[in-house]
Symmetry: C2
Subunit: 160 residues, 2 copies
């Protein structure tokens, strides 16, 4: 029936926590793979680029490199390479902070904003369709339980 | 308060589906980053290696390369490189199938099995602790809702 994934070989005696983690990973991997493939096919762009533009689109005064990498949960080095490419293409600007010239602030340019705005309605449709099997109440409940999980993981991982 | 992540800049008017996707991605990224860091610190190993050994540990007759890459949801190329390294280290074996010599079957060796068994109790503890903020009932409900989501994503993505 369904394609094999990380959960397939779990045994009935396996722990609930492990099942939950593998199912969570399966869900996010499936959605991510789908969004990645569609971004490439439809807009000839990559998921890291889309994610970076999305974060900047929601930051009216822009973001420092550190803020960007924290929000994207990737290393500073990854953000630097990606930003280099987007600066060259004119989609984002990168300027030293007036009060601390070692710190760089990234902003979406007008071109970058137009490029991102052209993709968002389609991107939202993809996400909507992938979640269409859940009722609004189920989505709200899932959001709440994932909120609890996020807190639980953060406190176990000792993150601030 | 909490570290900024992909959800941080969401607006109250944003759609439930988008919120859900970003929260799901945040949860799985947080757990994955934690497991990755701990595997490196505690066992000097990587998450892809651990995942591959885990899949083989649950497959008594081994897995073909195709089965492995499907379960790990990564490309065949990635699995090949990883398998090469594990064969060299004597943790897995790779033999042609008797009835189809173009197909390769991967199995855990005795050494591989011992190496994996030495890591699993600790790995389970990490996962348990990260989920300790949820009750058994909440975990069971979350598992159920993620099961619905998985089906919904698979049917929207047209996957078998």
């Amino acid at each position: 029936m369904s394609a094999p994934d990380r959960e397939s070989a779990l045994l009935s005696g396996d722990k609930l926590e492990l099942k939950l983690w593998l199912r969570l990973l399966t869900c996010s991997s499936l959605i991510e793979a789908e969004v990645r493939a569609r971004l490439r096919e439809t807009f000839a762009t990559s998921l890291p680029r889309f994610d970076l533009l999305a974060q900047l689109d929601r930051a009216p005064v822009g973001l420092t490199m550190g803020e960007l990498s924290s929000r994207l949960m990737v290393s500073n080095g990854n953000v630097t390479g990606l930003t280099d490419a987007l600066v060259r293409e004119g989609l984002v600007s990168r300027e030293p902070e007036p009060e601390d010239r070692r710190s760089l602030r990234i902003r979406l340019t007008e071109t970058g904003k137009r490029s991102f705005d052209a993709m968002t309605p389609t991107h939202e449709q993809w996400i909507d369709r992938m979640m269409a099997g859940l009722s609004r109440a189920e989505m709200a409940h899932l959001l709440e339980l994932l909120g609890k999980l996020k807190q639980s993981v953060r406190s176990a991982a000792g993150a601030a």
